[in-house]
């Protein structure tokens, strides 16, 4: 299948981006340097094209019942304009996707991983209730990320939404004043995938170019950031990436996402299996590894203890903030304590690794 392009594709090329295919989309992996883009988000502000992400809207009288049935977190706790991290799990407790669920005046909005949009939509339709409508609005919805400690200062002069009083995981519909007097309507959400303060902005698919132009035209423009920096940022913050830390053969408890599985809420898909897994305890656990030796432990590399393969790396990189080689890996639960020592087979070379607390990086409030 031919990869798709977001409306910003030509702007990325014009900005000198290197393009890669990700989740069926041609996306910028970096504009200048992953390290420089990473640093910009930690220290100032960065702008990301997130139009590849999927958006699925749920409306109708049974919308809440439906969301409660398909997602593991408790959507009844959401106020209008509030968001929560949640999971779609199958009947075996395997993770179909990790998602953000927004409660909106008209219903709910799921923001899902690009590569999973089609699968998620089909899965949601399969579990649909009679009095609710499920619509894939991914191609009508543009999405940008504005992330970093200066995100609020960058965005506030452009919008009528009072950002200072908008808490984390809340959103507001507002106007973003554009260049040449154009105004973009956007849903401004205080969320992100970087471990920093910041916003995710949703607007019409065809409005996203104008919104991008607006954001890069400010006096101190955000650094343009690609998927490379997005990955190193999320990994430092120990946020899972579907396909790496999560998949259909992974359950939320081993991924340390038990906090988004609300077994006490009414019946939902996967509940029985998830209750059994929680009762038995997960057999393996996701841990943070610091690679003591020089080298990078990447996805799929074996993790060894006393010469035996006991697990595998799911993601690994050089942490630009910590200046250390870090990785996430699954290891047997009984070996998952902080300080436990392993070796990672990096192309035949055993590198020493040690379990460290997660997240690797936490911003100062």
């Amino acid at each position: 299948m031919e990869p798709e392009k977001t409306p910003l594709y030509k702007m990325h090329l014009g900005a000198g981006a290197r393009i890669v295919e990700f989740g069926g989309w041609l996306m910028p992996v970096q504009y200048t340097s992953i390290l420089a883009e990473h640093r910009a988000v930690r220290e100032a502000v960065g702008l990301f094209d997130l139009c590849h992400m999927g958006e699925i809207e749920v409306t109708g009288p049974q919308a809440t019942d439906f969301v409660q049935r398909v997602a593991t977190n408790d959507a009844s706790r959401l106020a209008v304009d509030q968001a929560q991290y949640s999971l779609l799990c199958d009947e075996n407790g395997g993770v179909v996707d990790d998602v953000l669920v927004y409660r909106r005046p008209e219903g709910y909005l799921f923001v899902v991983n690009a590569a999973n949009t089609t699968k998620d939509f089909a899965w949601l339709l399969r579990h649909r209730l009679p009095a609710c409508s499920v619509e894939d609005i991914s191609r009508q919805t543009g999405m940008l990320g504005l992330q970093g400690p200066l995100a609020e200062a960058t965005l506030q002069p452009l919008t009528d939404v009072a950002l200072a009083t908008m808490p984390y995981y809340h959103c507001r519909q507002g106007n973003i004043a554009g260049v040449g007097g154009n105004t973009s309507r956007a849903l401004i959400s205080r969320t992100g995938y970087t471990g920093e303060d910041g916003f995710e902005l949703f607007c019409g698919w065809n409005d996203v170019v104008a919104l991008w132009r607006t954001l890069v035209a400010v006096a101190a423009p955000p650094a343009l950031c690609g998927l490379g920096a997005r990955d190193t940022l999320r990994l430092e913050a120990a946020m899972p990436l579907y396909g790496h830390e999560l998949d259909e053969h992974t359950n939320p408890f081993e991924a340390r996402l038990g906090w988004v599985v609300k077994l006490e809420k009414p019946e939902f898909v996967g509940r029985e299996a998830l209750a059994a897994i929680r009762h038995a305890g997960p057999r393996r656990l996701l841990v943070g590894l610091e690679i003591v030796d020089r080298g990078i432990a990447r996805n799929g590399f074996p993790v060894l203890s006393n010469g035996q393969v006991v697990g595998a790396v799911t993601s690994g990189t050089f942490s630009p903030t910590l200046q250390k080689s870090i990785a996430l890996a699954y290891v047997p639960t009984e070996m998952a304590q902080i300080g436990a020592e392993f070796s990672v087979d990096v192309r035949g070379r055993p590198l020493s690794a040690r379990v460290v607390p997660l997240p690797f990086y936490k911003r100062k409030k």
Binding site: I34, R294, G295, I296, S325
Partner: protein, 129 residues
């Protein structure tokens, strides 16, 4: 456009070699460092190691990926660029000068004849762009 330095010989795997009398300095091209992105670790052989033309002699880890290094010539490593241990970014900033990798005592100068000239290498990367 990436720089193709004159007076060097190149491999198809994007290493360069600068021969002097009986030794040669080896590095990676500007095109290679651009493709790799930010280099964070460089694994090089110790001094005294024998290397063989077109066989791997080390690895470069960038944030994105690990890439093998292929030796443009056969011989004995006589010097390793120690600065790269603490400053791997020299490979990005100065691939033809400060970011050199190893110095090799040449086993057979005739091996240089099968390497690409700057013009040939320029054509190669032009076809890859």
């Amino acid at each position: 456009m990436p720089e193709v330095r004159q007076q060097l010989k190149y491999t198809k795997e994007h290493e360069w070699v600068r021969p002097t009398d009986d030794t040669a300095v080896v590095g990676i091209s500007d095109y290679a460092q651009e493709q790799l992105g930010d280099v964070v670790f460089v694994e090089l052989p110790a001094g005294g190691t024998e290397v063989t033309q077109f066989e791997t002699f080390g690895t470069i880890e960038s944030v994105k990926a690990a890439s093998d290094l292929y030796s443009p010539v056969s011989g004995t490593v006589v010097e390793v660029n120690a600065a790269l241990k603490d400053r791997p970014e020299l490979l990005n900033q100065s691939p033809y000068d400060e970011g050199w990798l190893v110095k090799v005592k040449l086993k057979d100068r005739r091996e240089l004849d099968v390497l690409l000239s700057p013009t040939e290498y320029d054509t190669l990367i032009g076809s890859l762009e």
